[in-house]
Symmetry: C2
């Protein structure tokens, strides 16, 4: 599968490495490059603040694609709240802007180091994915053969709970109660 | 420390067992009994729907006490949403009703079995606690010597994220992707 990843920071690279390991063809788009061709699966490994411009610029190219939002839309000045409305989420906002794409929420509950190693402590790293079934199926297939487990977190509305969980996990790390190599391991 | 637990279901007993193990004096109040004396620490191990009546009945006795809300206020008919307003939480609602008590949110991200055994998979069970520092200090002291880790999840406003995380975890178990003996282990 062709996977296009916007952003080549820690998260973008750690995610890309897993798609690569699973046998997909991975391409990166950085802020200094412009995409002219887009894979079937798009991962927006960028900060929340960058989503709006990308959605505007690539709306046409994203038509019919599965677009994965990985952001944790925190207020990073106060660390006391999310900046999206309480009854919505970054992913739901993005879906409204990209009405012809299938938006998924995924990877936001995984710290970069746990995606790089495939481990949270001695547990396999689990990616929780919310969104339409068709999109989740594609993402799950693309990650089969990677180092990661994938679980179905429900419809896109559950992005709200994924973003709350991501916020909670980050606040535990920011307060140095857990490390950025740890976090929530999903035990089956 | 004297600990009063309302409710003697799976959660109440599993929580009580930990306070007991840590050397506290644990008393249970069930729906067929009425409390006349209340410990310094109160755990409301009851469903969300029972909180309002308990708050009304015990408002005076709860004055100055630390009152722990463990509920996951799900719509159990649809499993598709929380029944509290998106910008609030069961714990914040309870704090409004019990303005002279210190309300904490805790134990709602722990399945009963993981409180009984003290383990999530091969990890120690971690209790995430939100609320005022004074209350969290008391709860943490009372659980020292139990089988549980305790981490500080921030002010009571973070109950919103704890309830979202609890909802997400329960939905994974209800959809049989994880077991009720598993869930989110907190890896340091």
């Amino acid at each position: 599968m062709q996977v296009t990843i916007f952003g080549k920071g820690n998260m973008g690279q750690a995610i890309g490495q897993n798609f690569d390991k699973a046998g997909n063809d991975v391409n990166y788009i950085t802020s200094s490059s412009k995409a002219t061709h887009i894979g079937d699966l798009v991962v927006l490994a960028v900060p929340y603040s960058a989503l709006e411009n990308i959605a505007e610029e690539y709306k046409e190219l994203f038509k019919g694609k599965v677009v994965v939002d990985i952001t944790n839309p925190l207020n990073f000045k106060t660390w006391s709240e999310l900046v999206v409305p309480a009854d919505s989420s970054a992913a739901e906002e993005l879906q409204e802007k990209l009405s012809d794409a299938i938006v998924l929420k995924a990877f936001n509950t995984n710290f970069a180091a746990t995606l790089q190693t495939g481990r949270v402590g001695n547990q396999t790293t689990t990616v929780l994915v919310a969104g339409a079934d068709e999109g989740k199926k594609l993402l799950t297939e693309a990650l089969a053969g990677s180092s990661l487990n994938v679980l179905n977190a429900g419809p896109l509305k559950r992005a709200r709970e994924l973003e709350a969980t991501g916020f909670l996990q980050m606040s535990l790390a920011a307060s140095e109660q857990i490390g950025w190599t740890g976090g929530f391991a999903v035990i089956e």
